[in-house]
């Protein structure tokens, strides 16, 4: 059982928080540059997620002992 894919939502929320900070508050220039770079990284990750993700479809199976496993569903 795998972890879910990297979170688009987390990248988006971080990016929004950075943009708001740059727009609404006065920040030391070094810090602003750091935030900008982080924002660019989030932007890149989010775009890659949108561009490169492939839909995963799994089938859930319950074993007789109640254990749960998944396998790839033939499509």
């Amino acid at each position: 059982m795998s972890d879910p894919k990297p979170s688009f939502r987390e990248e988006l929320e971080r990016l929004e928080a950075i943009v708001r900070a740059l727009e609404d508050t006065d920040i030391d220039l070094d810090r602003a540059l750091g935030l900008f770079e982080e924002g660019v990284r989030s932007l890149k990750t989010a775009r890659e997620l949108l561009r490169d993700s492939e839909l995963t479809v799994k089938r859930v199976l319950e074993e007789s002992d109640g254990a749960i496993r998944t396998d790839d569903l033939d499509r």
């Binding site: 059982m1 972890d3 879910p4 894919k5 979170s7 688009f8 939502r9 988006l12 990016l15 929004e16 950075i18 943009v19 900070a21 740059l22 727009e23 006065d26 920040i27 030391d28 220039l29 602003a32 540059l33 900008f36 924002g39 660019v40 932007l43 989010a46 775009r47 997620l49 949108l50 993700s53 492939e54 839909l55 995963t56 479809v57 799994k58 089938r59 859930v60 319950e62 749960i68 998944t70 569903l73 499509r75």
Partner: protein
Amino acid sequence: MGGLDLFGTVPPASAEGAWSVADVTRRARQLIEAGFTHIWVRGEVTGFKAYRSGHWYFSLRDAQAQVRCVMWRSDNQRLPGPPEEGMAVFVEARPSVWEERGEFRLAIKQLLPTAEDGLWQLQLERARAALERDGLLDPARKRALPGYPRRIAVVTSPDGAALRDMVSVVGRRWPLVELWVVPSKVQGEGAEEELCAALALVNRLPEVDLAIVGRGGGSREDLWAFNSERVARAVADVSVPIISAVGHETDVALTDLVADVRAPTPSAAAEAAVPDRSAALDALAALSRRLARGLSRQAEVGHERLERTADRLSGSVQMQLERRENRLERLAATLDALSPLKVLERGYAVARDETGRVLKRAAAFTPDLAFRLGFADGDVRARTLGSDE
């Protein structure tokens, strides 16, 4: 009909040779069962009772008469639910006699309300009322769907058109998500049980943030499991937001009423479940522009601040320099005071030998030693005459 000869033997004409109760009821049953085969009867249901065994007992009546009826479990199971008191029905029945009670009754094979869809409708209304009573239809229960789901549990048939449609829509709109298909029959014998089990299983899956339960279109009988009160309760028990998607345009299934969102088709459920990739890209583009503007705003603010800082800075440097100059002057003065020249100016002279080494002690002046005496204004050559010792 052959009349009394059906009793087989000559009926007893006197107390001698009297039949037992069992004899007469058995013979009455045989007579009646042979006399009618399957007949259709119309009447109103009254005194309905369902026993724990699953068998139904009631009477049919009209203005003049009534007759007891039984509908065995094996026959009533095919119906969506029991009839209502006073409901007008057609029954297909076999008349008989219940020997133990000596009771004439109809064993009912089929029961149809005279109003079209009467029983289905009735059962639906009953289940709906029960769900309502328990607060499961309260709009306040409805939860918002997650904006960016990462794992969606889909309760449906793994080889149905519904799943294919959902996979196609989600794959196009939002391939960032994982679909976890929890297989279940969606119609026919056992569908209710499987749907309930699959919905319960959803609650045990890790990191699921949304569920969809559904199937494609079909006849009302095909869709009936989604009108089951049990299945509706299982939908209500799912711990994450859930979309009900039963492929039908006009009717609303019971699962639709308890789910957080009702979709008219599985494709529509998929659309509601995930955001659209191109809209998300647009949103990112807007954020990207704001990010750049935000930075340049900070740079401007920083520039102004820097200028202010520079003003302050140059002021402070000036002060530092002045402070340093004063200090240098003081130091220079000190150095000056320590210079040997100043000492010589006060009337002293320094004696050096020919090599320039300073002669500090009388013992250094050997007899006839040639040396120089340095004064502030110049040197004088000299020679030792002797010592005072």
